[in-house]
Amino acid sequence: MTTEVTESARLYGNTHIVWLTMPPELHSATPGQFVMTYAGENSDPLLGRAFSIARVRTSDAGREFALLFDIVGRGTEWLSRRAPGDAVRVVGPLGRGFEPRERVQRMLLVGGGIGVAPLVWLADRLIEDGREVTLALGGRTAAQIFPAHLLPSDVEIVVATEDGSLGTRGLVTAPFEELLPWCDQAFACGPNPMFEAMHGVVRHSGLRKPVQALVEEQMACGMGICYSCAVFPRRGGVRLVCTDGPMFDLRDLY
């Protein structure tokens, strides 16, 4: 399906946001689901890029959705240069998103680096639902932290940076450890070492808190046919991030 860019801007640091018209096929999407986005007209670059839906809004133009991304290569470079009116081909919604439990109140969201992207929309939705939301954000430096003023004002924000330029110095797993006893359910997105560290925190805490991890692995297709994005759960077997995930129970992974 083809979408049209409505807005494109550098939002902070090396992180861009692109707003696109939301075709009806995407209206059923939930936070944590993703779209494959195809850069260029021909075969170079060849493969789609998987992006979580970072936010959804309704404007005069109708419903729109946002992709939030760091410029890391040719695909993201291409996408960052799209201007309003430009067409972008996407396929979605794909994968299994976050599944917030019903009748629980305290939601802890943990984002490492650009892993914040799907948590922004999740935070929007949880606040609309009337839940309490704390968002713990981690990054190497302040320039990697999603600006607090762009989040719903009811979201409690905790920041950790490795260089101490914003919030506490260190990894986001430290605030996660502090907040774990408070929360009813936790949701995380970030690099795999962050998930592994979080799993260690949960295990040592002795608390049986449900933590949903939104996993990223290199994808070629996004649709369960190329087998690029395999993860190997602790209990054995192999799962695909694109179709079995990207949301996995943290304790199933490690």
């Binding site: 195809y38 670059p45 649709m223 190329c226 087998y227």
Partner: protein, 311 residues
């Protein structure tokens, strides 16, 4: 004007494989088709080829398994698959409800395993044929090593022939100095068709990590980047083949397919293109039909090998 696009594999044998059109999906680029069949009309295609199947389930290789390259990609999935038992019990019953024939791509670690695989799949409802993989670059045992030696290749094919009455194609590797002796050997040993070709062994390096992109160092190159290589391989194969040639290697649109037909292929397999566009195979088919209508070609066989004729 109707265009006759049909094709028969294993003509005259006990179980002919009739394709309504010459567009197949390549092994490893469609899983086992079960998910796609929910979203797309798979019955409109000529044939599907399953994910490469081994005797026992395999988890495949560690991450990273794929990397993008110029107009292509390298992969080293390492034959992650559910195993032949689950193919028979879980996938084949679904395939049996489809009109489109499904070929199971099989790979053994030993010659005997190829025979065991063929035997397990013989007579199973929903399985229309086999694709014997002697060309996978991403496994430690079996795979490509059998495809690089005419005698070994023929031994695999004879073993499969002994254990099945199903029609089968043999998927060969471009990693040989001359493809023709391999083609001659496998068709004399009983192959009903030849799939040309598998991926090309290749690598990429991540300069940030100062390491190979793939965990296994080497993988197989696919996508539009390899089409010219595949065309030459098909052209060479067609110079000695007496059975249909099924072309695989960078087919992304109708024009690509027509090129392969003119080189001597009777059908094409769409592979990596499906990753970029899930409807790629259907678009290739539409492109072929449109070209034939424009050119007044009423039977595809009229153009097969057209570029080979000297006049």
């Amino acid at each position: 004007m109707a265009v006759d696009l049909s094709l028969t594999i294993g003509q005259g044998s006990k179980q002919e494989l009739i394709l309504r059109n010459p567009v197949m999906v390549a092994s490893g680029t469609f899983s086992n088709g079960l998910e796609f069949a929910k979203r797309f009309d798979v019955d409109a295609l000529g044939a599907l080829v399953s994910k490469g199947t081994t005797l026992h389930p395999r988890r495949g290789n560690p991450q990273p398994r794929t990397g993008e390259t110029a107009s292509g990609m390298i992969n080293s999935i390492g034959f992650q698959n559910i195993g032949v038992g689950a193919v028979v019990s879980e996938a084949a019953p679904v395939w049996s409800r489809w009109q489109v024939p499904v070929l199971v791509n099989i790979m053994g670690e030993t010659i005997a395993e190829y025979g065991q695989l063929a035997e397990r799949l013989d007579g199973v409802r929903g399985i229309a044929g086999l694709e014997v993989n002697i060309s996978c670059p991403n496994v430690a045992a079996g795979g490509m090593e059998y495809g690089q030696d005419p005698e070994q290749a023929a031994a695999v094919v004879r073993e499969v022939r002994r254990h099945t009455s199903l029609p089968f194609t043999v998927k060969v590797t471009p990693s040989v100095s001359d493809i023709r002796p391999i083609v001659v050997a496998v068709q004399e040993a009983g192959a009903d068709a030849i799939t040309v070709m598998n991926t090309i062994p290749a690598m990429a390096i991540d300069i940030k990590r100062r390491k190979p992109v793939l965990a296994t160092t080497f993988g197989g190159l696919s996508g539009p980047a390899i089409k010219p290589v595949a065309l030459r391989m098909v052209f060479l194969t067609a110079s000695v083949s007496t059975v249909p040639v099924l072309a695989a290697g960078g087919v992304s649109n109708g024009t690509d397919a027509i090129e392969f037909f003119m080189a001597g292929a009777s059908a094409v397999q769409v592979g990596t293109a499906t990753f970029r566009d899930p409807e790629a195979a259907w678009k290739v088919l539409a492109g072929i039909t449109e070209w034939c209508e424009q050119e007044g070609v009423t039977s595809l066989s009229d153009i097969v090998g057209a570029a080979r004729r000297k006049d």
